[in-house]
Amino acid sequence: MARTRSKMIVTLLMVVAVAGSGVLVAQGAEQKFVELNGEKFPALAALGPPPIPMDLPQKRDARGFPVLDDPLVQLGFLMMFEGRLTGDGSLSCATCHVPKEGWGLSSAISRGYPGTSHWKNSQTVVNTAYLGKLFWQGDSLALEAQGEAANTGLSGNAKTDLSEERLRQVPEYVKRFKEVFGTEWPILKDAWRAVAAFQRALNDENTPFDRYMRGDKSALTPKQIKGMELFQGKAGCIQCHNGPMLTDEKYYNTGLPQQEEFLKDPVLQFSARWQHYQRGVSEEIYRKSKTDLGLYFVTKVKDHMAAFRTAPLRHLVYTAGYMHNGVFDTLEDVVEFYNEGGGDDPIQRDFGFSTKTKRLKPLKLTKEEKEALVAFLESTTGKEIILPEPKIPDDGIFPAALAKFGQLPPEKFIEKEKKKE
């Protein structure tokens, strides 16, 4: 059945509206809270089915979760691996969201477009259906917008006109877009809608943690249960990492250490400067800042400097390195960082005032307590999601062109070898 594309804006608004009400809870489920130091925080919970845009219905299983066996989702899966969407065709979503690397990238800093570098850690695609704020600084509010935005600048450097014509040159895509969206020719926006649909079907929701929260008290080990108690108690993680996604989707500066690669890699250095320049910060800030300004790039509010969206704590086992700049290799490093009350504020260093969150204080955790926390953090990961890489279809010649000019031997090109980091 063809899906109409006329109500897309409505869909986006709806997703925003749902996300705006806080961390998503399963439909019909009652919001519960936990109290810590006199404050109330949304309780940890199992994941329910993710929200689906009403104008782009997806096939769901009996429990309401979107399934992979859906023409729309399968098209999105193809688009995840489709180089034609990017500037020079040498990258795809899957370049930095690798199935075998937890649908993120195992390196600390993500890859950039050739000749540039990214400057942040690549986040997993798994469970993004539940997020209302995407990217480390919440630039995008819907998956459809996120994919499109990620395909620009230092990650994709794409021009929409060209990417769209590339899709139209592939007979297989002309057929499949028509089947799914009902258009005569593929439309680039629909490619991003398909990718978003695929993401909504890529969930790790049957983890030991979820099973435990759904009532299977044997799903967590005693050590993990102790970790969960610490998480909601002495360690205070729940203050920010709460709700079913273990994030409040708010922004904090934790005083994360400088990513050392910045200190030595020229391409990373100018790419980081580019980030400041293209975000339109003032000249003073452009020249003084030696760190990623995070949410400030979006809001230009000084208190938001170096603040990043609380990371969801799911699928962690497969998604090291951690934090927005990938500075920690292990969950032990992360726990130790918080045990020390976070780090030194880079904003204090660069600008003489601090934006570091007041929530972070030394925790005085014992070795056993830290181990229990790590054990708990590992319980929010289920099975690794490995899908076989799809076969990307070939370009075709338009039948009308063949009819007019006849079959000729194909042109031969000597492609310059692509530089890939």
Binding site: D88, I397, E411
Partner: protein
């Protein structure tokens, strides 16, 4: 003083000679085309700007994926064009027209085969080449951050352009370099200035045909040997524009961005119609300059004619076949020796081969203003 007088006399004589060569206006007939003339002298560009612009022209970091240089499609050893029928363009795509030489671009009032760019504003042409997806796909902001990471460029921008590397200064430097590339020691220009021995007798016969029986002068006139008007010649379509998927999709993408209707179904290069959107202009292209023409084969907007002999033969037959073909094109009935004479004349329009003496350095991307590893926390940018 004496020299000045002599020069004035020479100039006056020259003007007369030029008018005589052009045949002069026929009484009651159509106005005659502007006469052929030597290239006028230009105010020289600042050498330090030319030098910086030249380095940038050869630097592959001036493209999105740091893999494409201006010099890739404007190669000094190929007459500052690329020697191919259809140009390459940015990786991931293939372009659909022939790369033009940039020699003498300083004199051109319109740029590109469809004339969509103003020749008076060369920095904007550089901007177009840098930012369009089919050529350099360059984000100007990442480009200037790249220059600021290269100490040699930091220094050169300061001395040549008066400050920090920025987008505008980059465009101006490259434009300065391009303007500096003008024909030098052209035999035909020497002949026009009075050196009778500068071109052969055969070439002189070719010149007479050019302005007479062959009628080339109707469109190829003035110092650039071009009227810069859109003309339909009926050059056959290059089938590879539509049979090579990466060219066809590139063509559609450009037509879409120009606002050409029905771009999905076009199977011909509409040329200047993409600019004017007037039906009469479908398949017209701007008359190219004939200067340095012997160095820039293959010919025409789509490289469909391999040699100058082919081009002369094409016109001898009255051009190709299309409904809106220019009325000026008619079979010429040229003899074999007349065609050879025309080719001999066309070859007198090429001057010295303009190869930069430091070409090896420019082609070595590792040596061209390398990046520095700054002490990130200490250095001020």
């Amino acid at each position: 003083m004496r020299n000045d007088v002599r020069f004035a006399t020479l100039a006056a004589g020259l003007a007369l000679a030029v008018v005589a060569l052009a045949g002069g206006p026929a009484v009651g007939g159509p106005p005659s085309p502007p006469p052929l003339a030597p290239l006028p002298e230009l105010k020289p560009e600042k050498p330090e700007q030319v030098e910086l612009g030249k380095m940038l022209f050869f630097d592959n970091r001036m493209s999105g994926d740091a893999d494409r240089r201006c010099a890739d499609c404007h190669d000094p050893k190929k007459g500052w064009a690329d020697g191919m029928a259809l140009s390459d363009g940015y990786p991931g795509n293939k372009y659909f027209r022939n790369s033009k030489t940039i020699i003498n671009v300083a004199y051109a009032p319109y740029l590109y085969w469809d004339g969509r760019m103003d020749g008076e504003d060369l920095p904007t042409q550089v901007r177009d080449a840098l930012t369009e997806s089919y050529w350099h796909l360059m984000d100007g902001r990442i480009m200037l951050e790249r220059w600021k990471q290269a100490p040699e460029y930091v220094e050169r921008f300061k001395t040549a352009m008066g400050g920090e590397a920025n987008f505008g200064r980059t465009l101006n430097a490259v434009a300065a370099f391009m303007k500096s590339l003008t024909s030098k020691n052209v035999p035909f220009d020497k002949y026009l200035k009075g050196d009778q021995g500068a071109i052969s007798e055969e070439a002189k016969q070719g010149l007479a045909l050019f302005q007479g029986k062959a009628g080339c002068i109707e469109c190829h006139n003035g110092p650039m040997l071009s009227d810069y008007k859109p003309r339909a010649l009926g050059v056959p379509e290059n089938p590879y524009v539509f049979l090579t998927p990466k060219r066809h999709l590139q063509y559609r993408s450009v037509m879409k961005s120009l606002g050409v209707p029905n771009y999905m179904n076009l199977l011909e290069d509409v040329g200047y119609y993409g600019v004017s959107k007037l039906k009469k202009d479908i398949g017209t292209f701007i008359t190219p300059s004939l200067r340095e023409v012997s160095r820039t084969a293959p010919y025409m907007h789509n490289g469909m004619l391999a040699t100058l002999e082919d081009v002369v033969e094409f016109y001898n037959k009255g051009g190709g076949d299309r409904p809106n073909k220019d009325a000026l094109l008619k079979p010429l009935g040229l003899s074999v020796s007349e065609k050879a004479a025309l080719v001999a004349f066309l070859k007198t329009l090429s001057g010295d081969e303009l190869i930069p003496p430091d070409l090896d350095r420019l082609n070595d991307q590792k040596m061209l203003a390398p990046y520095a590893k700054y002490d990130w926390l200490k250095y001020s940018h």
